[in-house]
């Protein structure tokens, strides 16, 4: 009997230990917001002097999470304090973003914003959000992944972007999307708006699903991002015909941008950047922005990101704010096509 009881106890302890890593993190996040309610007066001038929490609004192991964890050591080096990555998934990102916006603006809680997902949520009339772009202090952009327009390797109706567009002006073609007004959906809508094509987007739950429907021939054109497509392009499993960016991607040097292919410029990309709650004191903004600039531009960090297939695009606070505002404007301009 005694043995059994101790066995169950051990079981419980292990359970506690395994859960501890996550609960510890959030406990510390709570304590930071608790302590700092007395604002910066208690901070004896020096910032930062305790761990900084970076909120990621998606699951551990996802793209944003990997991005954050890759930057983590370099940011720690610049700031001189530990940096914790905390996952607050749920609500298509809004759980985490709301958490960032509502955190104490003491500089110890910052987080990742994902656009255009954030922008489309702001414009979606059925979404009751309670926060806005003004709820944040914009720090810096970290990565950008341009959209990729992809056809099957054995496609015979069209073999390059120009032929695809010519074909799509006369015939209806289906494209993939992974979320209403998500970055890939916006590519389709912008093509229809600017190039007068007849693409019809089908919504899928994620890239895995959209890609298998595309490879199986159920959907004509795959719209995805450079990061998702480049290695399969190099393996000739599919063919990226154009990317929706200002310049060629270093991952796909043989693929033109929409403009280079002879059409009006179309820019659509998903970005991940860092923000803090609004009301963050100016001197702390500067310290954080400085550290982020150095960490993001660290060559070792950039090399690691490249191995992961993620394109680093540093933008300072002002530039990043403009980027976000542009995304919101873009989605607003497509309201009619979205039926919002």
């Amino acid at each position: 009997m005694k043995k059994l009881f101790s066995f169950v106890l051990v079981l419980l302890l292990v359970a506690g230990a395994l859960a501890a890593c996550s609960s510890q993190e959030s406990a510390s996040s709570k304590s930071t917001s608790g302590e700092s309610s007395g604002t910066s007066e208690n901070d004896d001038g020096k910032f930062p002097n305790k761990p900084i929490n970076v909120i990621v609004a998606y699951d551990a192991g996802g793209g944003t999470d990997t991005t954050a964890r890759t930057l983590q050591p370099y940011l720690e080096k610049e700031l001189g304090v530990p940096v914790n990555v905390i996952n607050k998934p749920g609500g298509s990102g809004w759980v985490g973003w709301t958490e960032i916006a509502n955190a104490e603006p003491d500089g110890y809680t910052i987080g990742y914003l994902n656009s255009p997902n954030f922008a489309s949520g702001l414009v979606n009339p059925t979404m009751q959000r309670g926060i806005d772009l003004d709820s944040f202090t914009i720090l810096a952009n970290h990565v950008a992944d341009p959209g990729a327009i992809v056809i099957r390797a054995d496609e015979d109706r069209f073999t390059n972007f120009k032929e695809l567009i010519d074909y799509a002006k006369k015939h209806e073609l289906t494209t993939t999307a992974t979320g209403v007004a998500g970055d890939d959906h916006l590519v389709t809508l912008k093509l229809n708006q600017k190039l007068d094509t007849k693409f019809r987007a089908i919504q899928f739950e994620g890239t895995a699903e959209s890609r298998s429907s595309f490879l199986g021939g159920h959907v004509d054109v795959l719209i995805t991002s450079v990061g998702e497509a480049y290695s399969m392009h190099q393996n000739n499993q599919l063919k990226v015909v154009a990317i929706t960016a200002k310049e060629k991607s270093s991952f796909l040097s043989d693929v033109p941008t929409v403009k280079e292919a002879g059409f009006d410029e179309i820019i659509s990309q998903s970005t991940r950047g860092l923000v803090a709650p609004k009301g963050l004191p100016e001197e702390k903004v500067e310290i954080l922005q400085d550290a982020l600039e150095k960490a993001i531009n660290n060559t070792e960090h950039q090399k690691k990101m490249k191995e992961l297939g993620t394109q680093v695009l540093y933008a300072n606070g002002d530039e990043y704010l403009k980027l976000l505002q542009q995304d919101i404007e873009d989605v607003k301009g497509l309201k009619d096509l979205l039926g919002w």
């Binding site: 079981l11 859960a19 749920g90 739950e205 895995a208 429907s213 199986g216 159920h218 399969m232």
Partner: protein
Amino acid sequence: MDAFNLLMSGFEIALTWENLLYCLIGVSIGMMVGILPGLGPSAGTALLIPMTFGMDPISAIVMLSGIFYGSMYGGTITTVLVNVPGEAASVITSLDGYPMAKQGRAGVALGISAIGSFIGGTVAIIGVAVVAPQLVKFALAFGPPEFFALIVFGMTMVVGLAGKSIIRGSIAVVLGLVLAMVGMAPGSGVVRFSFGIPHLIDGLNFVTIAMGLFGLSEILLGIEQQMKKPEKPPVVKGLFPSRKELRPSLMSIGRGTGLGFFMGLIPGTSSVVPALMSYSIEKRISKDPKRFGNGAIEGVAGPETANNSFCGGALIPLFLLGIPSSATMAVLLGAFILHGLQPGPTLFVRHPDFVWAVIASMFIGNLLLLFMNLPMAKMWAKVASVPFKLLFPIIIAISIVGTYSISNSLWDVGGLLVFGLLGYFLKKADIPVAPVALMFILGDLMEKSLLQSLALYKGDFFAIFTRPLSGTLLALSVLVITLSIVAGFKSKKDNLVDVEA
């Protein structure tokens, strides 16, 4: 016999002592992750990826995939012992597994699922090794319409779980569908029933629903029972099924293996679909379907096997197409790329040592799990005989910690409590809870694939019937329902047996 030689060289790599060690670590962690409700296999794998950064890619993947299938084993343990299914597929196991534990036969239930999982897992791996390239076409043939038809077919299977009263069963089914509707609508992005709560934009979380409806409600009922008339915990009986049970369970294992493997090929299928189908098939062909829901061993053996061979089959789309068929697979895919291995048709050609070593390690891992689980099943089974006043608080504590870890927030803990109470009242009203949980998953998948199909055919519903695969599946569904109705009319006594979950 080229594949055989390659497999042998794979074993050579997998049997080096460090890879063996990583395999052991992987499956042990996986078991732990599976036992802890809430901390699902995908989170477990993701959290450990950083640990593998400095490792050789083969060792890394060997360990990570060990976590993956190890967690499948572990999930069964909590389901059978305390009726807390940590993941979707285990819901089915709880139908007969938990009643078996109540009869003191938890050891048998765990033993047979360990054996079934081993057979299902290894046969699926052999399948991957031998026929993988030929099957890729089959995987891709499943577009949205086929998927929709498959889910509809799956739903007809839920009818069998509806319980003794059609009305009560229907209430459960509709409740499940309503819960599935919360959150952003696929296709239009309209947010439904979120009441301005950010957590609800993505819909409800399955783990909270399953743990509340099954686990917590069971504890509430148990506490009530204890206050009225204290019951002694069941005495633990043997580990092996009786000779009479052995043959039917082996047959179920065989059927579950084939079913799970083919379902695994279809990207995007939830592992609950093969488990549900296997259960339903077992019940239909059983001579005495009344036993199901009251501790029928086939009801544990079939679905558990199907679940594990599903995981094996799912490796084919992952290896050859780079398409993960579940969240955990997606995490594994990430690990592949991180270690410089690009999945695709060329993976077998460019990194044969890697592919075959991983396949070989899965053999070994499954064997390790079998050796770990058979003796341990007896030990685990004793948990069921812990006095309730000690056991209940521990289960509640583990459940709460587990749900908290889903998104590091108390929101999910609240969900657990709400669904626990809901489950308690449903059980009091004799409404089966299994259909609620199953319809929650299937409803979501069905809505999505229906909307995709309609978007593809510009709103023409009947076009779905014109495609050979989807047409056949839909015709089968109609047939199953018609047969059920006819059978219902024939025997005045309702032939739908009560499956109290």
